[in-house]
Symmetry: C2
DNA sequence: TTGCACAACGCAAACGTTTGTTTATTTAAC
DNA sequence: GTTAAATAAACAAACGTTTGCGTTGTGCAA
């Protein structure tokens, strides 16, 4: 009953035409202040709610922005969305959120649905098994702005916002070097993906900057879990000769670093005196465990904010990407704690207390 | 250029009417298989994408479900959404996600926007300072189904999906009692909210079931942070006489429990021999710290799934709520670890190892 | 008085679909 | 071979807005 009140109803009630109502509601200059007030009053009186579908249809433009990402239930991604929302909401856009679940096929379906919903723009973080990006080109071809974040594909000519993993990874390695570690290994996730590829490159950069040995055997490029990491470390100390053993581990995830810590403890070695460890992500537990974990903090909110700002700009300018392309790098920050602090470790009282 | 291809274009190209195209695309029986195939072929050929706004407008029903919640960037909420999406996606609904940011005003705006977008249903978890629920009644009045989850308001006659905090809180307290703790305190978040009110009631239930003393002084009902908890515990052991001191703390959050642990350690007391501690949420760190924290695991995905299933049903039945109301309780699970295990503690080798 | 500018609003088409009702064509039935 | 039934597609109206253009009425200068 109440649900069908349209602009016409309020027009009828006021003995004017729908056009007047429409203009009054959108504060058009050629409507007298008197009628505007009257319209507004009776609008709420009749419990009128504008119909965005009709509006969007007529105007040819929607009120929403589509977001597709692999999985929403991670700390990183949900904070990206948090950042995105903080800029799209004030701009008056709804957020339509889709999960690709790391599936290429679902990602394509998501894009299709967003196009069908006539979103004003698309923000995307690629699924793991997305190789082909024709569906993204299709978005562009339909003239809807596209911005990638976090997991991007560089061959596509669009704007993006990502972590500056490379330089901070280098920072981490340089830090280890300064603490006296000389044989630094990396335990990384799959290095064919954008994210881990960059961390690996940063790792290599750091070694070069510190004039340290680059040893292929110290590069573990497909570590995916804590237990996996534990096993790798144990194997290293079982099989390797002393001189070919790493004395520090740069891990591309805090869970991985935790595995390393546990193995090292079980081996009876001391951290950071014998072995240094650095993680990635600044998971909440990293500051709580003992020894507290040196790690790298990311700023997912900032990434979301940056990506959202770009797309809002594109929408307003009616462009589908900026030319030349803009790539925003958000620099993660190295957080030095106990697992890598040989120097400050001399004075135990200086240890950073768990926050 | 490519973006404006409509049903008419493909109609023109095939020398038929738009209605034929529409019916062909939706597999209407009164269209020959021949033309259906032809239509489908030329549709993709012309890169046609249906316009949902037009469709929704004409049919009077949208393709999306609105979700409004306080903050998306928490482990609990993002997993709720994960669950929700896992049922709405196969049903063909988009998810429009709004954050209220714990603000009543923004929550109202969100609802307004969702109504304007003509969502088929609304899922909501209330903001902290939502007292008035007229905006929700308005949703119902407009005949759109509404389901609440997690933070609900019981005075509103709608379906809901929530944690069964009460019984599991009682479980936790009973467990403490069985371990020999006799003076059990609770450190809780604001007990005027639905969630914490239930945990408090469960706590009281547990005490009664165990025939333990209920002491008003052991009920701390506005603990909001780790540091806050630390301070409270220290104060207790500074000021209180021995017999009025609690010997166990049931905390409504793992961070709070962590604060307790730290204070107790600093006071030189032993856990769990002197003091027992239980947290809530099973945060990742809870299994990693030593001693590992007994806590309560929730199942946010299940809550999301349940809520989503209900609303899909309501939408399909054209109802706005089921009568009588359905309230789905998802029972959290007590995870016993070291901070509460006096009994199994006799044999240290039985301690559950950090997972 | 005429002319003119301007303010305030009406008219009607359009956005892209969907759908009830006709119409035209084919097939089956007797 | 005539008529009824079934099939396939056309016609046109409708969903709720927006917007270019046209129409009024008023005040004011000439």
């Amino acid at each position: 009953m109440n649900q069908k009140v349209t602009i016409k109803d309020i027009a009828k009630k006021l003995n004017v035409t729908p056009s007047t109502i429409s203009r009054a509601l959108s504060d058009h200059p050629s409507i007298s202040t008197k009628t505007k007030d009257l319209v507004r009053k009776t609008a709420i009186e009749l419990n009128y709610h504008p119909n965005r579908m009709a509006s969007s249809l007529r105007r040819g433009k929607g009120h929403s922005i589509g977001v597709v990402l692999p999985k929403i239930n991670s700390n990183f991604m949900s904070n990206c969305i948090f950042g995105i929302e903080s800029v799209t909401y004030p701009s008056g856009y709804d957020l339509i959120i889709c999960q690709s679940n790391e599936s290429f096929e679902k990602e394509m379906n998501n894009i299709e649905a967003l196009i069908a919903s006539r979103v004003s723009g698309v923000l995307i973080s690629l699924s793991r098994d997305t190789k082909n990006i024709d569906h993204l080109r299709n978005v562009l071809r339909r003239n809807v702005p596209l911005v990638m974040f976090d997991r991007i594909e560089e061959s596509l000519n669009v704007d993006s916002a990502v972590n500056d993993d490379r330089t901070t990874s280098a920072d981490a390695v340089v830090h280890l070097a300064k603490q006296g570690f000389k044989k630094i290994a990396i335990l990384s996730g799959p290095t064919h993906t954008y994210v881990y590829k960059n961390r690996l490159m940063g790792y290599l950069d750091g070694l070069r900057l510190s004039n340290l040995e680059i040893n292929e055997n110290w590069i573990y490029s497909n570590v995916f879990s804590k237990d996996n990491a534990k096993k790798i470390v144990k194997d290293i100390f079982k099989k390797s000769l002393n001189k070919s053993r790493p004395d520090a581990f740069f891990c591309t995830g805090d869970k991985i670093a935790l595995g390393v810590l546990q193995s090292v403890k079980e081996l009876g070695l001391s951290i950071p005196d014998d072995i240094g460890v650095i993680g990635y992500a600044n998971d909440p537990f990293s500051s709580i465990i003992t020894p507290s974990l040196t790690t790298i903090e990311q700023f997912p909110k900032e990434i979301g904010i940056s990506a959202a700002k770009i797309i809002i700009n594109l929408i307003e300018q009616g462009k589908t990407f900026t030319s030349p392309n803009k790539k925003i790098l958000i620099k993660p920050q190295l957080i030095v704690r106990e697992t890598s602090s040989r120097v400050t470790n001399l004075d135990a009282s200086l240890k950073s207390s768990p926050s």
